[in-house]
Amino acid sequence: MAANGDTQTVSEYIVHHLTNLTYGKLPGGYERYDGTIVPEAGQWTMAHGSDEMTAMGFNAVHVDSMIWSVGLGLIFCWVFRRVAVRASAGVPTGLVNFIEMVVEFVDGTVKDTFHGRNPLIAPLALTIFVWVFLMNLMDLIPVDLIPHSLMLVGVEYQKIVPSTDPNITMGMAIGVFLLMLFYSIKVKGFGFVKELTLNPFNHPLFIPINLFMEVVGLLAKPFSLGLRLFGNMYAGEMIFILIAALFSVGLFWLLPAALLQVGWAIFHILVITLQAFIFMVLTIVYLSMAHEDH
């Protein structure tokens, strides 16, 4: 239990677990948690409590999400780069074998789904799959282990699963969305405009209706992509936290809660892999649609 004293309630425990470590700019004149007033020009600082985070608004960074996300991305790059350097046409061994299996799996999925020729798609899919998987994998680390350890050395909040942060998932989804727009315009040119305006009712009168429907459909893609991953991981993390909260209810709950924790973790192995896979496949499908004229 990440108990901060005897007074922490279960709801406080849960909220604490769902709060990011935030660094941001407080607006001028804001009264901080300890009563100090922020200078007129504003102030960049670590947020303390959810009120300050709300006050920071958009001018804030979730430091924990960024560190874990980028760190895991760097691990991905490092491991795969090492294999890429060692890869040869000879007999593969150990790690090379495993990485090649992943690469082949991604390559197969891309070839099944994406029929155009674009050297970006396969590496993009590989990056998404492995990176998202690694971020989801953080969910399997016991919920209190890292946050509580860091709290002991003075870090107040810590959310170690980046994919439970909508900023992270939406950041990637927006990246995919920009690629969709880019390839739609590059491949179809003016046809993209026609697709937005003359579909599904091919009549000049219906252009506003078509445009509205198509734009909604287009925007739904990145949102469904990012929010699906976020929702699934957030819910999964929430269950872990709730089960962990059971430990505080009483000694009787120790064993059932432990069993539940293990059971949910085993089930979650499936979920995190599936979510990473879905994110990858949807990216490929959306980009494939961007490349094809209807």
Binding site: F76, C77, A89, L120, N167, M170
Partner: protein
């Protein structure tokens, strides 16, 4: 659930990682895998070819073996024939020689007989003449009747 600058940060990180993967990770691994695939395909094809070659060679060996056997059989047959012919010839020669020797012997015998007959005749005629001479001592003059005696000896 605040949307904030993390979004932009993640977007930048995303672009960077994808770019890195596209530039430094995917091409070497995919290239090595494709190369290995080619190599394996080549190796399998070579193995197939070698198997086929072996089969052809085996067939050739069989053919040559069969031909050699045929040739050997021919040679043996010819040798047998030749041997038979030689024996036959020897037989012929031998029998001819035997005939010849026999004929020569017969001729010699005949000659011998004729000479003996002649000699005998001569002796008989001489004996007869002597007898007759003794018998006819006075009556017959040898010189006078020699012609007659000669005719007699030839007739007998």
């Amino acid at each position: 659930m605040n949307i904030n600058l993390t979004l932009i940060g993640q977007l930048i990180a995303f672009v960077a990682f994808v770019a890195f993967c596209m530039r430094y990770v995917w091409p070497p691994i995919a290239g090595a895998m494709a190369e290995r695939q080619d190599k394996i395909a080549e190796g399998l094809a070579a193995a197939d070819r070698a198997g086929h070659d072996l089969e052809v060679a085996q067939q050739q060996v069989d053919e040559q073996l069969a031909e050699a056997k045929r040739e050997a059989a021919g040679i043996i047959e010819a040798a047998n024939k030749r041997a038979q012919a030689v024996v036959e010839e020897a037989k012929d020669t031998a029998s001819t020689e035997a005939e010849r020797v026999k004929a020569a012997a017969a001729a010699e015998i005949e000659q011998e007989r004729a000479r003996a007959q002649e000699q005998l005749l001569t002796q008989v005629s001489a004996l007869a003449l002597a007898g007759a001479e003794k018998i006819l001592a006075a009556e017959i003059d040898a010189d006078k009747h020699s012609d007659l005696l000669k005719t007699l000896s030839v007739d007998s």
